[in-house]
Subunit: 320 residues, 2 copies
Amino acid sequence: MDKKLIGVDLGGTTTKFAILTTSGAIQQRWSIDTNILDEGAHIIPDIVTSINHHLKLYQMVPEQFLGIGMGSPGTVDRQLGTIIGAYNLNWKTLQQAKQEIEAGTGIKFAIDNDANVAALGERWKGAGENDDNVAFVTLGTGVGGGIIADGHLLHGAAGSAGEIGHITVDPKGYLCTCGKHGCLETVASATGVVRVARDMAEEYAGDSELKQTLDDGNEISSKITFDLAKAGDPLAKMVVDRVAQYLGIALGNVANTLNPTFIVIGGGVSAAGVFLLNQVQAYFDDYTFPQVRETTKLKLAELGNEAGVIGAGSLALAFA
Amino acid sequence: MDKKLIGVDLGGTTTKFAILTTSGAIQQRWSIDTNILDEGAHIIPDIVTSINHHLKLYQMVPEQFLGIGMGSPGTVDRQLGTIIGAYNLNWKTLQQAKQEIEAGTGIKFAIDNDANVAALGERWKGAGENDDNVAFVTLGTGVGGGIIADGHLLHGAAGSAGEIGHITVDPKGYLCTCGKHGCLETVASATGVVRVARDMAEEYAGDSELKQTLDDGNEISSKITFDLAKAGDPLAKMVVDRVAQYLGIALGNVANTLNPTFIVIGGGVSAAGVFLLNQVQAYFDDYTFPQVRETTKLKLAELGNEAGVIGAGSLALAFA
């Protein structure tokens, strides 16, 4: 009988689990709240308990699994199976994820960062069509990314390959949390879109519901901005155009550098869907040279929230 | 006895050859003029004749070789071993390089484009220190590049990976031969540096030997510009600063995307050496996020003209 995979997608609010076949079909799914109390001391034990509980529930044993793969925020050491600096999990010290999960479940464990794992998921079973050359960018609270080139997930010298969110799109741009200026993340994350909207609203003089909302002191979001742009609000349209231009130059240069078959756009901001995609595509075409323009295709992600558990599960294929 | 490799570096003026050990030591070197007459019809036959002649000279036989590797300008089909569109070779039709060279020498043949092959050479025996993650950029008549990531030379969907020269560094910049605007090549190639110098000279009002030379209607070169900058010419210093900034943003974004261990700068313009490197480094530091800044190192190429034959030879290792 074919062995199974377990995929774990560790997030700041929820931890998602899936049992998958080695061809990537999800057989069971569940999730638990991520308990970040006590400096995150419950997180790893809760994962172990939840896996063991569900294996019992499904009458399965550790020997039926190739391994457990997990995607995590923070800085991951893939060899040692440790994590540090995942601030949204409240972890302040090095976490021995591999050691504790292998000891607690009796199943082999592999780990990578959350954006890489989502990239693997979209590449394997989503918009990436299992191609050997796929770049993935996720537009959410931050902007993350992962790159599969020549069939390999890239990590680079220190695990920072695929950090598309920190591509410089405007040398004189906003200060990023990373300390440098003009990162894609500062303008194309959910908060980045709002920042662009606020700044453009200050200089905008015409009629606009977006401007009115801001002038009234109300909160806006990237979703509100995109919805207003779709409805024809002139300022909102300018904001989306600006964001699309930044995405076009960043993803265009990823394409000029790597010529992937697909660049897959996921994350919350990508919920703006084809409306956003078409505008990014127009700038992408401006900023890519002909051979790349003709052979690298922009696509929307297809797996939504499941990209993480599917990609995480695929890490365990390495134990086959 | 260990088998040997033959490396061929096909250029518009000269074709270079080398016989190498499988560990990359050059045992014999020679070169011939590239005869581009008659629509380049002599190029491949001349290569065959030259290889056969030298094997006879060195009393060697085809069985002593793992294979022949060649770097070529133009668009290379690695699987079929063909080349098209190498305008500096006068070729107007598809060239059956692999078929003719294998038939003519009795030795297996592999091919890749010239920039990729130079990248392989610098990675293997030069500044790349045989690391698994090396990006290479060559600043010459044009700007080319090649990327080794996770130990693999990247080609992408259509063989256009590593085209660092077509990274957009200024969306409103100069028109490139590729048809888009603001490619790195338009400002950092030998002719690009001159173009930047001419344009900056028009707006420059102070004393400058570079400006005087241009105003007198004399030709300048990238070398003259760098030499004047080193000597303290104020306009020339501004030109080099501008070029360094463009290189810093392009190479910074290659690093933000791939986090290579080394980015190696080669080609004629890089003859400006440490003077150029230090200025690019300053901008590179501005445009990379901390983890990348600390782990990706800019270096000057070390092999000069030999990068091509060494990297080409390494292609034949695939036949081992």
